[in-house]
Symmetry: C2
């Protein structure tokens, strides 16, 4: 019942967001049974292609909790996360994810992310987007600085 | 030569960011030979797990240009994009990407994203992070609203 409660909240946020000029996606982040933050899709409304519901909720939750780790949190999203959001969920160390609609439902509504999943498993030189290596030796310098830094905050 | 110029800028941003308490990553977005925006990794500094250099640069470039599409732009990044950033690059419709260090260099410096790539190709129920379906029928409601909306901005 509790899980359904938070999922309904995510679905309602998604539906309301359509009325508010956003995309049909909503997300809720919960810790210990309490809502920490919510997010909706504001890609076109905010001119931010990364402002998917899940990424927006993650950023808001981290701001609210003053941390870059959401360990101990669960994310409820009205639709299965796209690859960007799924990776963000891993980076944020969220414990578990519940989704409502799935990626096929999203594709049917005009939000198809299957092309991105397909690109990921291809070797770099077979992807549709050109991806070229440049100055690989000079690019080690930041990493060397990082390795030699004594007071760094690892994560 | 021009490509190397922008890549050096990304590498220098990455190196300086280590001095400024950030991670060793920098990115530059260029349109018609002009820098539109830059970004650095501020995950721990800003308590934002999505604040990788590329995502930060994309958000800043969209803000600067007042658009959610970066068609016509090229991204230079000091290190090969992680899955979150690569997906964001696709969503932002950036034309092409140049990277300096690669993901193996990143892993050697303590930034290993291979576990995320591995998760993506697994069926949902075999992934390390629990991912469960909930209320799939109710979750169609936002999509139905979207499909029936006449003045929506698709993307």
């Amino acid at each position: 019942m509790e899980h359904s409660y938070f999922m309904r909240m995510a679905i309602e946020l998604a539906a309301k967001n359509v009325d508010n000029g956003g995309g049909p996606f909503g997300a809720v982040i919960v810790r210990n049974g309490t809502v920490v933050a919510t997010g909706v899709n504001r890609v076109t409304a905010s001119n931010d292609p990364t402002a998917h519901a899940e990424v927006s909720a993650i950023r808001a939750a981290c701001l609210a909790l003053g941390t870059f780790s959401l360990q101990g949190c669960v994310l409820y999203t009205s639709c299965e996360p796209c690859p960007m959001c799924l990776a963000a969920i891993y980076w944020a160390r969220i414990d578990a994810v519940y989704y409502g609609a799935d990626k096929d439902d999203a594709a049917n509504a005009g939000f198809d992310d299957s092309f991105i999943y397909k690109e990921f498993v291809l070797p770099r030189n077979e992807r549709s987007k050109p991806l070229g290596e440049l100055l690989p030796d000079e690019a080690q310098i930041p990493f060397e600085k990082w390795k030699n830094k004594s007071d760094k905050q690892t994560y």
